[in-house]
Amino acid sequence: MSATGIGAAVRRKEDFRFITGKGQYVDDVVRPGETRAVFVRSPHARAKIKSIDVSAARKMPGVIDVLTGADLANDKIGGLICGWMIHSKDGTPMKMAPHPALAATTVNHVGDAVAVVIAATVAQGKDAAEKVKVDYEVLAAVVDPAKAKSGPQIHEIAAKNTIYEWSLGDSKATDTAFANAKHVTKLDIVNNRLAPNAMEPRAALAEYDSGTDQLTLWNTTQNPHVARLVISAFVGIAPEHKLRVIAPDVGGGFGSKIFIYPEEVVCLWASRKVRRPVKWTSDRSEAFVTDAHGRDHVTHAELALDANGKILALRAHTIANLGAYMSTFSSSVPTYLYATLLSGQYDIPQIYCEVDAVYTNTVPVDAYRGAGRPEATFVVERLVEVAARELGLDPAELRKRNFVKSFPHQTPVIMAYDAGDYGASLKKAMELADVKGFSKRKREAARHGKLRGLGYSTYIEACGIAPSQAVGSLGAGVGLWESAEVRVNPTGSVEVLTGTHAHGQGHETTFAQLVSERLGIPFDSVSIVHGDTDKVQFGMGTYGSRSGAVGMSAIVKALDKVEAKAKKVAGFMMEAAEGDIEFKDGKFTVKGTDKSVGWGDVALNAYIAHKFTGAELEPGLKETSFYDPTNFTFPAGCHIAEVEIDIETGKTEIVNWTAVDDFGTVINPMIVEGQVHGGIAQGVGQAMLEGVVYDKEGQLVTGSMMDYTMPRAHDLPSFKVETTETRAPSNPLGIKGCGEAGAIAAPAAVINAITDAIGTEQIAMPATANAVWAALSRATPRAAA
């Protein structure tokens, strides 16, 4: 391993600019003549728009234009779409309601935009926005997903507010397994709704060039090419070749910046109308009512076991709240990213899952770090833990008895696990967490009036999303390959253009490590280029922990091609047959001789082309690859949380956290550890702190950081993070992906630990001090007894 190659904990290249304030985010981009967009948003969860009067707003100082949904419709601008088709059990397609970028007839959630003011400054825009008179007829809102089917119908297309009633698995065989079971564990679970809260709020800057009829959009997006495709093909703003999307530095996404939102569409449309650049930067209050939320499942789940604690079957019924409109990938999250993972790390013969997706008058819900897999893991890992407690078995032992131990393993819910060693990560985690010493620590805590609990989460996820043919057969509107272009410059330095996008992941470092190792050139001679549709060939972006497994594999394939061509060039330079050239550590050698040429010489010769004719070889050294994986990857591992609870206040402190993850090949252990830390923080946030709350009228109660509790450093312990390794067989580097693991594993570990401590399973997320205290008041604590 070289100091900067694969496996080295290289410091992140990008951090210098980020920590010295040199990052270039959308809001930092300033275009000549720039104007600002300020949106007029609905204060009601559901209302008819009777009329909109913009005349007073138009007269306000600094106002360039005021546009409404009617203007948008007049200009025949299309609505936003959901790009993944799900069919109901009865074969009918999902009920996708129209989602105009500016509402013209009805508003469906607080924050739904009805008009936009284009003004010289934000302050002037806000002043004018207050003068837009909207006459609403307020209608009863649907807020609770569990009651959505009986509520007033939100969209004409969706009777009973139902988007689809979908199922996966064999219902009859599962019921039979349950009928023959010795023991059945049942749980009612609410997977709480979360607000993503990336540090950089969303922003869009659109500029129209009337000379070329070209539109440029600087946008906080995780996938600029997909944004361009949707905005072009479905919204119809401009043909693809007349629209350039740039995602410069982006400050966090966690999924919320995958989607195509109304604001960027409106900025593009408005910039062409007013013939000036139009910028919008969300403020935090706006973010709470417009960024797609995550999770929000209501589930009843059951686990069937035999007398020996062997799992026979699992069944679940989930109501998934998709909010007021179907966001870009919303339909896939509670279906193919959720039910397909309900086998967990276990050999479960039968699984059946039904999912009803519903509309409510709330912000749209879509993928958020983990997307479906945290929900699945929570169901499986809570069921297993509770089953062990009910059967009087050690929860680790019950897990071991049921682990998948031979690979490949076909689950009853589509996924075919290709590699893993679940026993190894559990064993290592138990050692690191000193599970043996737990009972002593528990007694010690009890002496101080504290309850201690230990909780496991042996999770699995499907990442590296994903084989295009597979996702196509499941309804995806796009293929999920990735592309790379490796450009070798005449001086030997290298630019890699990737279709993935980094918004905190450190691709500029890890991708350069791969190239440095492979070509034997200095790490600093490699630049990674991403986030611009005019530069990068095409790409599917970054989400689902796919950039390493899929994005880097594309780079490997392009590097293969570069090496093959470079060998040809070296052959001409050394007058040797191409087949006799060996390439190692940046040097091309003629087999069995001491004749060699260096990387830089070969790069130069590829461009000056003095040693070969055009008929023999094309000049230049630049290769492209589009890589499509053969399977999902299956990162898995074991997280163990240990908590201590203050009996008097219910305040829970996480005192130990152990994470042992199998991410396959690790490129940069420091970055991987950072990803695990961040993921755990978000998972702990979901388990103990975060939760979006709406009141009965559909008003957002948690509309600011004063009420929405984000995890802070003092909420978290120092983590013990280790890895085990089984290579992923489906990609050349053996990478599985690490971005979401923490958020997937953590909630179940926390709740299993808290319920272990308090002796009752009746606690919902977030398990706040008040909730734990109330649960303790209801139950007789085992430890305190």
Partner: protein, 266 residues
């Protein structure tokens, strides 16, 4: 934020004059509560009268058997005052528990008291020590000062200049932080100064800071946690929101009072 005129007087007199000429104006005394609501356009003062340059409004001084704190003294400066840490560490802990480092380095004692946020920390200390709030017009006892949620005995244009805290031999503050905002979900300040025993609670009451007379009465026998063991306060009149039920807040009052007493006696 709406436009406003910005004034920076250098004397209390000038400040009072500016306030009387700007009836829709507001005092800026750190701005940690005012500026966020202005940014959200929920407040629109025509003028801000910034007291930052007014002389003689900062500092912590020992005066006889009292500690006198200038109204514009920032939380961090009060918390770190060696004078106060020696004279009454139980009071120094109060500003030390406020918000986060940013808030503690901008927010002031006068601003906090004048705002009388029902979840703020200082009102508990003022009421819990029987402080005197000194304005440009008069002296007001803490018992008369806090008149309800976000409401005080201050008249229009009246400016807090100092707060005088009698030194209590035994006092302590125990706070259960609101998980999101960092304000007090419940905060309890206890003190004993001769026969004067006080238990003041912030965060819990739906009408702002209040004293728990039943606890005070029980503590007259002995100023110790044991004296109020088993005593509770009713949940009626407690705040209830998504973060804590009224029952939980009432329960925390008892728990935190006992912990504060243990701390005060430590």
């Amino acid at each position: 934020m709406y436009n406003f005129t910005f004034h920076r007087p250098t004397t209390v007199r000038q400040a009072a004059g500016l306030l009387s000429r700007n009836p829709e104006g507001k005092i800026l005394a750190g701005g940690q509560s005012l500026l966020p609501v202005m940014k959200q356009r929920l407040a629109s003062p025509s003028a801000l009268v910034d007291l930052a340059l007014v002389e003689g409004m900062t500092g912590v001084e020992l005066k006889g058997r009292s500690v006198v704190i200038g109204a514009m003294t920032r939380h961090a400066d009060v918390a770190n005052s060696t004078v106060l840490q020696e004279a009454m560490p139980g009071l120094a802990a109060v500003p030390g528990a406020v918000g986060d480092p940013q808030v503690r380095n901008r927010g002031t004692i006068g601003g906090s008291i004048a705002n009388n946020d029902p979840n703020a920390d200082y009102p508990a200390a003022c009421l819990g020590l029987g402080a005197t709030i000194i304005t440009n017009k008069r002296r007001i006892a803490a018992d008369d000062f806090f008149t309800g949620m976000f409401s005080t005995a201050l008249e229009d244009g009246e400016i807090i200049t100092k707060v005088s805290f009698p030194i209590a031999k035994k006092c302590a503050y125990e706070k259960f932080k609101h998980p999101a905002s960092g304000f007090a979900l419940v905060g309890v300040f206890v003190s004993k100064r001769g026969p004067d025993i006080r238990v003041a609670v912030t965060g819990a009451g739906s009408n702002g800071v209040f004293r728990v007379k039943t606890f005070e009465e029980a503590l007259k026998k002995r100023f110790a946690a044991k004296s109020i063991e088993g005593l509770t306060i009713p949940a009626t009149g407690m705040n209830e929101d998504i973060h804590a039920s009224a029952e939980y807040r009432a329960h925390l009052v008892g728990v935190l009072a006992r912990r504060a007493l243990a701390k005060a006696n430590a």
